[in-house]
């Protein structure tokens, strides 16, 4: 589709010049959440698995990154790897148990694991409790080639990481594996009767999603220079669901838009004082009542209608 191509091209150009107009730290944070939301959506939109505990991968990866870079004093690349690997491993363990259940039960098991992980983070000494793991140094990447002290330079690094993650998800969805995954989502019994061990496919999807959520979390720790309990908390798991919903389920770009909207909302509503939550809540209500397909979904609809005329 040509329109899509053009759309992507416009978006990439926009992303490249964005730091000229918007504050780079804000953009980086939004990109991290966007990647996180995409990872979540991979699971929900394409494997039909609704996770209520995705913050455990996102948040833990942040801690892994922080520990590796601060306490062990290793390179940021090692931190990112540790974040991705750690999250994938955590995904493998929790996923192996969780994917045996479906629907709301699956969601609740992931929530349960996330709560346990949260408890662990409160107790474990290296996380710093509610104070968080603070002051992770920003080190240069690629053995000193890319200095990251400058927010604008770091922005392009984060953009590259995001694009890598996004492309990976796109590929997963449009791969032979993705095809089977969609079949399993549609009718698991039937897929089994065709000879597919549904659980293994779901587990792989779960691990991939966890790993990408981990990439997002580790990148965020790199940008923000701290990792805190907020990122492993149930509220963050809820937030990512909201991002996917607000952007539009079942579209691959939807979660990105949703993440930008919610992160922007948190940042700009911050200046409305005590009414932040009221306004945020009201916006959710309006979205459900008026833009239920999400921003992207509604836009696509509008576009289609326009084309039809």
């Amino acid at each position: 589709m040509n329109a899509t191509r053009i759309g992507y091209a416009v978006l990439i150009v926009l992303a490249l010049v964005a730091p000229l107009f918007a504050y780079p730290v804000f953009l980086m944070k939004a990109l991290c959440f966007a990647l996180f939301a995409c990872a979540f959506n991979l699971l929900l939109g394409y494997a039909g698995l609704m996770s209520f505990g995705h913050a455990m991968f996102f948040g833990m990866a942040g801690y892994f990154y922080g520990h590796v870079v601060k306490a062990w004093d290793l390179a940021p690349e090692a931190g990112l790897l540790a974040g991705v690997g750690g999250a994938a491993l955590l995904g493998l363990v929790t996923g192996a148990l969780a994917i045996r259940r479906q629907g709301i039960y699956f969601a609740m098991i992931t929530l349960a694991f996330a709560q346990m992980v949260f408890f662990f983070c409160v107790q474990a000494p290296f996380t710093g409790g509610e104070d968080g793991l603070q002051g992770i140094p920003r080190k240069a990447l690629l053995g000193g080639l890319i200095p990251t002290k400058d927010d604008r330079v770091l922005y392009y690094v984060v953009l590259a990481i995001f694009l890598f993650g996004y492309a990976a998800i796109y590929r997963f969805i449009h791969s032979p594996f993705g095809q089977v995954l969609k079949a399993i989502r549609d009718n698991e019994q039937r897929a089994q009767s065709l000879g597919y061990e549904a659980d293994r496919y779901k587990l792989l999807a779960f691990v991939l999603s966890a790993a990408l959520a981990g990439l997002a979390g580790a990148t965020k720790a790199m940008v923000q220079q701290f990792a805190t309990l907020t990122d492993v908390a149930a509220s963050t798991s809820g937030e990512v669901v909201l991002m996917a919903l607000v952007g539009g389920l079942g579209t691959i770009i939807g979660p990105v838009v949703g993440a930008f909207i919610i992160v922007t909302m948190q940042n700009y509503l911050a200046f409305t004082g005590e009414f932040v939550l009221v306004i945020q809540g009201a916006i959710f209500v309006v979205i459900v009542l008026a833009f239920r397909k999400g921003v992207v979904g509604e836009f696509a609809e509008w576009w289609k209608r326009r084309q039809a005329r």
Binding site: R100, M108, Q115, V122, L277, V278, G281, I283
Partner: protein, 293 residues
Amino acid sequence: MFELLGIPPQALFGQLLLGLINGAFYAMLSLGLAVIFGMLNVINFTHGAQYMMGAFAAWLLLGILDVPFWASLVIAPIIVGLFGIVLEKLLLKRIYHLDHLYGFLLTFGLALVIEGLFQWKWGSSGAPYPNPIPGGFNLGFMFLPTYRGFVVLAALVICLATWYGIERTKLGAYLRAATENPTLVRAFGINVPRLITLTYGLGVGLAALAGVLAAPIQQVSALMGVNLVLVVFAVVVIGGMGSIMGSIVTGFGLGLIEGLTKVFYPPASNTVIFVVMALVLLIKPAGLFGQTK
């Protein structure tokens, strides 16, 4: 005398009793949540806010109109239940045909709005509600406030009445059937939308009732229900979704387990419910009392 891990059995008794009291709240709250989830296919994230509204309604009734606790026990749930009905008619009604994620988004947003407005008006620290039956019994091993004893009894009565209404009456059968296939039940001549509205009102009323009962025990504050929904929903899931009896038994049971955790490993007392949930779901896929379709 024999001791269990260094705790004298008498003290353990006391702790179990306290656990039971907390379980009573879980049971009442999960009941409402289960009924609503069953019928509307919506995880009612406003449940905590409605619980809070119940407590506030009682507090306001007392402060402004001098309505005594016992009258509030009836009036407050009705007021909040009616509020729930209005919400249902205006908002929730529009989303039933959608995935239950939208219900999550909508009710979550509503909870933020309601709690935010209450906090704006009455602050975050809240106000105390006087104990309607002060005093207590000395049970020998512990001091039991009379009011807490009353709570357990009241909760039992409420739970059993709800259970009977849903599992053993015709109306309950309509409810259960409409949960599965509202279109068809409607085509049998039953006014399903009204049934749904009333159910939501009932579930909300139950939450508010729990709130009124909690008011004398806890500080009445805008944020008293914030963290409740997840825990209570976990109770519903452990009990087996759609099973009213499951919610009740699990509510009380988890109160006990939580009570024991508070003695043996207090830091985990909020987490233990989730551990139990994971274990139960791994062993019994549909919860303790749930049926597979």
